[in-house]
Amino acid sequence: MTLATQRGMRDPVAGGRFGSFGGRFVPESLIPACAALEEAFRDAWTDPGFRQQLDLFRAVHAGRPTALTPAWNLSAELGITLLLKREDLAHTGSHKINNVLGQALLARRMGKTRLIAETGAGQHGVAAATAAALFGLRATVYMGERDIERQALNVFRMNLLGADVVPVTTGSRTLKDATNEAMRQWVANVDDTHFCLGSVAGPHPYPWMVREFQRVIGDEARRQVAAELPAGVPDVVVACVGGGSNAAGTFAGFADTGARLIGVEAAGGAAMTDGTVGVVHGSRSLVLQNAEGQIAEAHSIAAGLDYPGIGPEHAHLGESGRAQYVTVTDDEVLTALKRLARTEGIICALESAHAVAWVMRAAGTDELPHGSTVLLTLSGRGDKDMAQLQVAS
């Protein structure tokens, strides 16, 4: 076994563990559903027919492969070579579509007739509603009341797509509470309903399955980058981290290379940096919580990163040193979003701007010396954030 494959992101071991993280911490009622999902996923993922079908929908409906854009101007300014993986160009405006197409196809294969989903920024909700419309499934999306206010555009999009958006009024009224509610509803409707979870969190097999559905980002980028860079692989691979799905999908394409992997969290929601070991939403990972184990609220300018947990595989990648996690502040994010818009003509999502902000700060320092080559995943487009930005600026 070479060093490269040793370093790769492998399938979780029995019980869905990545190192000591992961697992399946769910009520007994959900155990059969999780087990059935795991089996269905294993079956589908080794079925070339399923993969072909997914590839087809990704290509003809979601517009994959997404472009790889050299950020010419910003690269020149920063003294690095920056390549942007353009998930903002994917249908519905973010990488979330990659995952939902996979899960919706799987749900259909399992005979389910309904999807439920949790959403924060609304991008996953829109994506789930889209996949449901496409595959003739009903859809219910749970969304924190506070996020509903912040992301009104996406709420309306979900409604147009025929999904019911249910406001969640408990707890912090954001993504974590929407996730709780979706879990509750899943328990009660497990027969006909698939819980279409939006990130690499949740009980096994979700963290693994979602990473596999998102690895198309990294796999595509790996091929595309090889054509752009003399070295074939970039020095650094960077992505923003909420639950961690776009980062996991991106890292998956490069984990077996020598590239440094950097996940960028919001300073106000940095489970990797500020979290401690805990169990939330079905898996053991790092969590923002107090000494007694009450889960904290995350606070960032990006609704999609307002999540107190992180996918268990990231906790493992961080612990093992294979990936490094850093944080940026809301102010850095706003500056980065604007600078990218002006230099490259790309308005990215506030979430994605976290990754950009780190590159801008790190470029020219030991963290990212001049001459470095960087692949950055732009996880989504900024249209959804315009109203909020208008207030912030």
Partner: protein, 284 residues
């Protein structure tokens, strides 16, 4: 300290969210007076994934009041002398992992139910619980298949918690039919001699005293439902129906009447054997 519940008459385990009001421990005493066989104390959690509206609210109310796990356990310790029935803590995994099972034991807790800790994840906690002398009560659900239910029945301590419905905690207008089926399956499996755990199918009616009781919980809301559940299983856990009254401002005396009515309904359903649960061992 281990928990042992008699099965002579249907068992009644009422639930209270710890710290829900300033004088929350008075409700525990009222439950005891009304004939509870044991009391379940829920630790309020920020993310009560398996709870319906009522218990979410109770949890929120407790946290908003400033209730902490530590304070709740202190208050439990304070009334330990007046509590004859065993206290069972119900909590989410994250709290238990943080607080540590020894701390529960020190507060005099006899049993522990962890909502989101299935068989696969519970081994570690089971040994810690054994070391601390706390019974781990496992939950079974209507969808739990027989082979898995058998494991649950044989690993559970104190009783087997049969979740009556596919759903979260909360009042329901009727007792779900799956509840009876599940309780019956569990009793059958519990009646198997331990050596024959791989041979399913021994008949019901094996000496109930020889086996762990099966309690039906989730959605048992009225005395009538309790009576039905008490016949199907060996007793009931009643949570949301009581918490709704507490949240509405009902006094401990009110709750004593509520629990008394449940007690009466259960007892009318079948003849009484042991009035209270027996606690083996000393009550540190």
């Amino acid at each position: 300290m281990t928990l042992r519940l008699g099965t002579g008459r249907p068992l009644l385990v009422p639930f209270l969210t710890g710290g829900v009001t300033a004088g929350w421990t008075d409700y525990l005493l009222a439950y005891q007076e009304a004939g509870a066989d044991a009391i379940e104390v829920g630790l309020p959690f920020s993310d009560p994934m398996l709870d319906g509206t009522t218990i979410q609210q109770a949890s929120d109310q407790a946290l908003t009041r400033g209730a902490t796990v530590d304070a709740i356990l202190h208050e439990l310790t304070a009334i330990r002398g007046r509590l004859r029935v065993p206290i069972i803590v119900m909590a989410y995994a994250n709290l238990v992992l943080k607080v540590g099972i020894e701390r529960l034991a020190r507060a005099g807790v006899s049993g522990l139910i962890v909502s989101d800790l299935p068989l696969e994840e519970s081994a570690e906690l089971e040994s810690a619980a054994a070391a601390a002398g706390i019974d781990m009560i496992l939950l079974a659900a209507p969808v739990t298949p027989d082979d898995r239910l058998r494991q649950i029945c044989h690993r559970s301590q104190g009783f087997v918690y049969a979740v009556s419905v596919m759903g979260v905690t909360g009042e329901r207008t009727t007792l779900a039919p799956e509840a009876e089926a599940l309780a019956r399956r569990a009793k059958l499996l519990l009646a198997e001699p331990a050596a024959s755990v791989f041979h399913a199918g021994s008949r019901d009616g094996a000496d109930p005293v020889q086996r762990l009781p099966v309690l039906i919980g989730f959605g048992v809301s009225t005395p009538e439902q309790a009576a039905v559940a008490g016949r199907a299983g060996d007793g009931v856990v009643v949570g949301a129906a009581l918490m709704r009254r507490v949240l509405d401002g009902a006094s401990p005396a009110d709750l004593r009447r509520e629990v008394g009515a449940l007690r009466a309904a259960l007892d009318q359903g079948v003849s009484t054997a042991t009035p209270y649960a027996e606690i083996s061992g000393d009550r540190r």
